[in-house]
């Protein structure tokens, strides 16, 4: 069968960029189109809430590939336009301007969207931000004025990264977290304790078990926040980091099965032939459970995996997830997924502000949070990859040799 219609990648983020590069590397020589709703070519999102918003990293250094690369690789970029309709049976997409494009196979790499606060409680006021896109970071950066009051809503990684950048710029920062502690959804108490102390040492106020009643505006612009306990906090700007939602509307409207993301199998296949999904928007089965990974690692690895799947046979996707976060002088590196852990072991590090938290389910190591301890991260990741059993007591003993344990 000859296929003249292009492979279309919907979404111009990391997953599509990785998929496109891999398609070419695997020898796919046919037409290839990336469609993205943002005006920018694929760029790295992680620095947005870190070195980009702080002004340390120039815009041109965010881009995953130079524009010339797409031309050399004969990859058509259609940017600043959105796919409004996917006709799965007809193998056709319709863009916002009415253009119809046929495809042979299609990848949905539509990413995710930050949850916003409802308008009824002030979510639409000016100076209430979320961080996802280059445009978001460009809007926030000039508002990070020394002395201004920043309210961070949500004590997850994005919120804490933003808090760190702002505190270092001299803003007066308060983080409120509805749950009993920060990082409740993503990390164990010792990791949360570490970051709480770190932020407090930089002058950030952390208020846990604290709900927001409403954001209050003046002339449409944020002026203060009223907490559920009645406290009024002055606020010049707010950054909302309360999770993200997979962009699965287009798939759903096309009759593709979705449930907290676009359902795919280990080969990135959706419920509809010739349509695949990868990255933040894809919900796949990992270690027996439905999983969405909101990370660069997943965007890259699943994007590349999808390339092999788009071209034919591939094994099931089976990643070892990893993540990172930079806050002040601390680099947090995470390997594995701590879902379902029942105990943790703390291993002190060899430097200041250095330690690692090892997550176990029963006697099985499932994840590591390493703070300023790249060796613990690297060797822990090696252990997760090899599946070699590791004793809790050995990890807890700071004198034990991780290298020996990992090999």
């Amino acid at each position: 069968m000859t296929m003249t219609a292009p492979i279309i990648l919907v979404g111009a983020g990391q997953a599509s960029a990785s998929c496109a590069a891999k398609l070419r590397a695997l020898g796919y020589d046919g037409a290839l189109t990336i469609i993205g709703d943002e005006p920018a070519a694929p760029y790295q999102r992680p620095p947005l809430s870190k070195k980009y918003v702080s002004g340390e990293l120039a815009r041109e250094r965010l881009f995953i590939r130079p524009l010339s690369w797409y031309a050399e690789q004969r990859i058509e970029l259609r940017l600043g336009t959105r796919v409004v309709k996917l006709d799965a049976a007809g193998h056709r997409v319709t863009l916002a301007d009415g253009t119809n494009l046929s495809f042979s196979r299609l990848l949905l790499a539509t990413g995710s969207t930050p949850r916003r606060l409802p308008a009824e409680i002030g979510g639409n006021l000016a100076n209430v931000f979320t961080i996802r896109n280059l445009a978001d970071a460009d809007t926030i950066a000039p508002a990070l004025i020394p002395g201004a009051n920043l309210l961070v809503i949500g004590g997850g990684y994005i919120g804490l990264e933003a808090a760190a950048v702002a505190a270092q710029k001299g803003l007066d920062v308060t983080v409120i977290e509805m749950a009993d502690r920060i990082l409740q959804r993503v990390a164990a108490a010792p990791t949360a304790d570490f970051f709480r102390t770190l932020h407090q040492s930089h002058g950030v106020t952390i208020r846990e078990a604290t709900g927001l009643a409403e954001l209050v505006g003046k002339d449409g612009r944020l002026s203060s926040a009223r907490l559920k306990d009645g406290t009024i906090l002055p606020a010049d700007l707010a950054i909302v980091g309360i999770g993200i939602l997979p962009n699965d509307d287009l798939a759903q409207a096309a009759g593709i099965a979705v449930e907290s993301g676009i359902l795919v199998d280990g080969k990135c296949r959706t419920s509809v032939p010739d349509i695949f999904a990868a990255g933040d928007c894809a919900n796949f089965t990992w270690r027996g459970q439905r999983t969405r990974l909101e990370s660069v690692q997943n965007a890259i690895d699943q994007g590349e995996h999808a390339a092999a799947c788009l071209l034919g046979e591939a094994p099931d996707y089976d990643p070892v997830p990893w993540f990172w976060s930079d806050q002040y002088e601390v680099k947090l590196q995470i390997a594995g997924l701590n879902r379902g852990y029942d105990s943790t072991v703390l291993r002190p590090g060899k430097r200041p502000l250095s330690q690692s938290i090892w997550y176990f389910r029963g006697d099985t190591l499932i994840a590591i949070d390493a703070m300023n301890d790249a060796l613990a991260y690297a060797l822990g990741k090696k252990m997760l990859e090899s599946g070699k059993p590791v004793a809790k007591a050995a990890i807890a003993d700071p004198a034990s040799d991780l290298k020996a344990l990992a090999s």
Binding site: V296, K331, R351, A374
Partner: protein, 105 residues
């Protein structure tokens, strides 16, 4: 702008002028050097920009710092004496002519 040459596993060479201050992982990606991947964007969380510095240049590139040294534990290709993560080498005028050998990452 200093000129950097990447020597690939098959002997092929790619050369490029790199802006001073840019790291050599981003320079490699920008110049389509295969096998220098840079998954983490240069923040010392992967080891996919692993290279071997040409022995003639070892003194000028220097040795890995502590975090980098630790991350070199998980390179895909074997770690050698002159292994570096290229995201941690910044282009300087002094490195004009630098040669890096690229393993299969």
């Amino acid at each position: 702008m200093p000129k950097v040459t990447w020597v690939l596993g098959d002997g092929r060479e790619i050369s490029a002028n790199v802006a001073v201050g840019h790291n050599l992982m981003e320079a490699a990606v920008a110049n389509n050097v295969p096998d220098v991947i840079g998954e983490c964007g240069g923040c010392l969380s992967c080891a996919t920009c692993h290279v071997y510095v040409d022995p003639a240049w070892a003194a000028k590139t220097g040795k890995p710092a502590e975090m980098e040294n630790d991350m070199l534990e998980i390179t895909t290709a074997e770690r050698r004496e002159l292994s570096r993560l290229s995201c941690q080498i910044l282009a300087t005028e002094e490195l004009d002519g630098l040669i890096l050998h690229v393993p299969h990452n």
